[in-house]
Symmetry: C2
Subunit: 133 residues, 2 copies
DNA sequence: CGCAAACTACTAAGGGCTTAGTTTCAAATC
DNA sequence: GATTTGAAACTAAGCCCTTAGTAGTTTGCG
């Protein structure tokens, strides 16, 4: 009967800095503190120790995993980006849109500038979803 | 040339309790502390003073306005719910979906259970938007 | 007018987030 | 093997959020 693996009901959203670093981890795969530091935009001058601290916090929260390598550590994501995106959308639907997904989309098409190709994309998404429910 | 009134570029998202109370303010219109307290679900037993404090913080942030009435104050929303919804969606698109709105919708249709009427709704939204760009 | 009730302002404590310095530890090099 | 070096752990300060108590003020009523 294969229990569906849904261990994360509603883990707290990542904080801004955590999310900022996670984007780098997701993009690069397995990274050292130095890698993350290097991947930050030039105007974002975090100290080495600050990045290190945040990565350690992320590990403590179970969002990343670390393995020892040479002098330092390599960090990689435990929480896939997909899963975090899903979690974020659900959270927004829940907290701001009264659990009504279409209300979110309604606001989106009204409040965010959408290109023609964006619109195409959306239509395709709905068609794909609609055909095999 | 009528300057477009867009004073709020990216105000901080409301905190969980702030949002919780704002939902009540948006729903009821103009409320006293006691009104808000009464509108909270029974299991959510906040102290009168806690509600009062949060409303005062909201006022300080410019999210609500208060006017004196009788013994106490009446609070009403300055930030309309629409605007906050828009702001929230934009924020999510920006911070989690790399500024790509269709990525959000893609994740939504995949990660949130959508009813048939939800799907209808969405299709209508897109059609309406698509016809007069 | 004076008192009781209601309401607000002040204050505070606990916890988490952000940032980063200091210290300690391990590794590479000579 | 000892020294240098670079990274991680520990620590901390500042700020905000949440919750609520206390004290002080206003108001309505007798």
């Amino acid at each position: 009967m294969t229990r569906k693996p849904e261990p994360e009901v509603a883990p707290r959203p990542l904080t801004p800095v955590e999310l900022e670093l996670m984007h780098i981890v997701w993009r690069l795969g397995e990274v050292s503190v130095a890698d993350v530091l290097a991947a930050l935009p030039p105007e974002r001058a975090l100290a080495y120790t600050s990045v290190s601290t945040v990565l350690r916090i992320l590990e403590q929260k179970g969002v990343v995993h670390s393995r020892k390598q040479g002098r330092g550590h390599l960090y990689s994501a435990v929480l896939p980006r997909d899963a975090y995106e899903a979690q974020s959308v659900r959270h927004l639907v829940e907290t701001v849109f009264d659990g009504t997904p279409s209300a979110l989309v309604a606001r989106l098409v009204e409040a965010v500038p959408l290109s023609a190709s964006d619109m195409d994309q959306l239509r395709k998404l709905l068609d794909a979803k609609g055909r095999k429910p």
